[in-house]
């Protein structure tokens, strides 16, 4: 790894087990600042556990080894987790102690296309709108590290494409380090600079994706990697 690059995330022999069952098994990993990492893996491979460990969640787990993350970390959950009793803007500014919290929240809502939803209850939003509000809440905190746990997994295919494009546009300038847990190989190939495949709590594969953006124009170059990733996730694509 390049010596000049500072690592935003460093894991050393990180293990986590729940009630005696090992979920993460001595993971060591360096993620340079600004890198977009996709975490792939079958169900139960430990990808969400790894993300939640970095987010400081799951206190009840037995943890060994150590990890470093930047001070400013934001988490994007699969469900939007907007508080139903707060308006959209109050959800965004929740816990923000900056004096300009309200105006910058408004600007952020404008960015994600929810300018007209500032003062409505979250229950009136569609699934895609909720997730956009949730993304706005995360990015409003200008995180150095964005941890995203299948944020688009529950959305329909069209909304998902729009959200992926929105995410890329919003992080273009500030370039936070991003770790995206996903089960969608195409999503990983479309967005990430680097794809990790987790298997039985260990990093089984580590691929750099050097294809330039926008990737829609480079389908052929990513096809072989796609096939390979699907195969390592137990999907044979020969017949389709």
């Amino acid at each position: 790894m390049n010596a000049h690059v500072t690592n935003a995330v460093v894991l050393r022999d990180l293990s986590r087990s729940f009630a005696g069952k090992t979920v993460l098994d001595r993971i060591s990993l360096d993620i340079p600042a600004g890198q977009f990492v996709a975490l792939l893996g079958e169900s139960g491979s430990g990808k969400t556990t790894l993300l939640r460990a970095l987010a400081g969640l799951d206190d009840d787990a037995q943890t060994k080894g150590h990890f470093n993350t930047p001070d400013s970390v934001s988490v994007l959950f699969q469900d939007s987790r907007l508080l139903p009793w707060k308006t959209v803007i109050d959800n965004l500014t929740l816990g923000l102690r900056r004096p300009d919290a309200a105006p910058s929240a408004k600007a952020m809502l404008h960015e994600v296309g929810l300018a007209d939803k500032t003062d409505v209850w979250p229950s009136t939003l569609s699934g895609g709108q909720k997730q956009r509000a949730s993304l706005a809440r995360s990015l409003l905190r200008s995180p150095d590290l964005l941890l995203a746990d299948e944020p688009f997994g529950a959305l329909d295919a069209l909304t998902r494409l729009k959200m992926q494009a929105l995410l890329m546009r919003l992080v273009e300038h500030k370039r936070p380090t991003i770790i995206l847990v996903t089960h969608d190989v195409d999503e990983a190939l479309l967005l990430a600079d680097r794809i990790l495949v987790l298997k039985d709590g260990q990093i089984a594969e580590d691929h750099a994706v050097s294809v330039p953006h926008p990737r829609r124009d480079h389908q052929i170059e990513i096809t072989s990697l796609r096939t390979r990733l699907l195969k390592s996730l137990g999907v044979e694509t020969d017949s389709i």
Binding site: R81, W85, L94, G95, W121, S123
Partner: protein, 282 residues
């Protein structure tokens, strides 16, 4: 041309479909009741009751006719003999209610938000829950005498339990997702309680408030049978001695009206406080 013709076929087909679906459909869930129809049952009972009285099937010594009771109630209201009793009863019921709700909420917060609180409080309230309020009457009379304090105290203890139980359960049942969100947003404990825990427990609190409002009147009826010279319960008790069933019915009507009115009031406040829930409404 093809578009038009196929459109017509489509239209005809879908019509036939909806027709056959309507014929075959089974109502698994009853349709929504139109407003006011809920009063049909009570109205029928009233009519039968009144008719039975007028036809002489129901002697006034057993049960006065509703019309007689309403007339008596109106006369008592006009000659000023009802209001002092109503005021006395309301004062007892609502002071007990206010004390019970405040104490119940404070105990639920202490117990729901701190471990020490739960260790100290929860067991005690659970024990109180298992003891019927009426079983405490002899002891409380020895402690506080047979005056107003005793009555308010017993209403207070009766109200406290459901308020505590429901509010506490709501606080403990907070969505774990919201707790995780609060952690990742870096909320302080104070911010978490104010923005997440308390609003999350509000629906549970309103359930408890509706129980409490009904309960404070229930407890009152019994307590007003113990050494009082005022109150609706006293009126009813005296009427029993004199065989005035119409006054007993007046008392029952007042209790029912107060109960329904209080419940409606709580519902209105609840609908306002939880307006975010109705956002999608109908």
């Amino acid at each position: 041309m093809t578009d038009i013709s196929s459109g017509r076929i489509e239209g005809a087909r879908s019509k036939r479909h909806s027709g056959s679906a309507a014929r075959r459909s089974i109502n698994l869930v009853p349709a929504k009741l139109p407003a006011g129809f809920r009063l049909l049952g009570p109205a029928i009972v009233l009519i039968v009751w009144e008719a039975a009285s007028r036809l002489g099937l129901l002697s006034p010594a057993t049960l006065a006719a509703p019309s007689t009771a309403i007339k008596t109630g109106y006369e008592m209201l006009v000659d000023g003999s009802l209001l002092p009793h109503l005021a006395a009863s309301s004062a007892r019921a609502y002071s007990g209610l206010v004390l019970g709700v405040i104490t119940g909420v404070v105990l639920a917060l202490l117990s729901g938000l701190t471990r020490t609180g739960e260790a100290l409080i929860d067991g005690l309230v659970q024990i109180k829950r298992a003891v019927p309020t009426l079983a405490l009457i002899p002891l409380v009379i020895i402690w506080l005498g047979i005056g107003e304090t005793m009555k308010v105290f017993l209403i207070f203890t009766a109200v406290l339990v459901p308020v505590y139980i429901n509010t506490h359960a709501a606080l403990r049942g907070i969505d774990i997702g919201h707790v995780e969100l609060a952690r990742t947003l870096g909320l302080t404990r104070g911010e978490f309680i104010r923005h997440v825990a308390l609003p999350g427990a509000l629906p549970g609190f309103f359930v408890s408030l509706r129980l409490a409002v009904a309960l404070c009147w229930t407890a009152l009826v019994v307590l007003e049978l113990v050494n009082t010279q005022t109150g609706i319960g006293y009126l009813m008790n005296r009427a029993r001695d004199w065989g005035q069933t119409e006054i007993i019915v007046v008392g029952i009507i007042i209790y029912a009206a107060l109960g329904l009115l209080s419940d409606a009031l709580v519902r209105i406040v609840e609908a306002r406080a939880l307006s975010y829930r109705r956002a999608l409404g109908s």
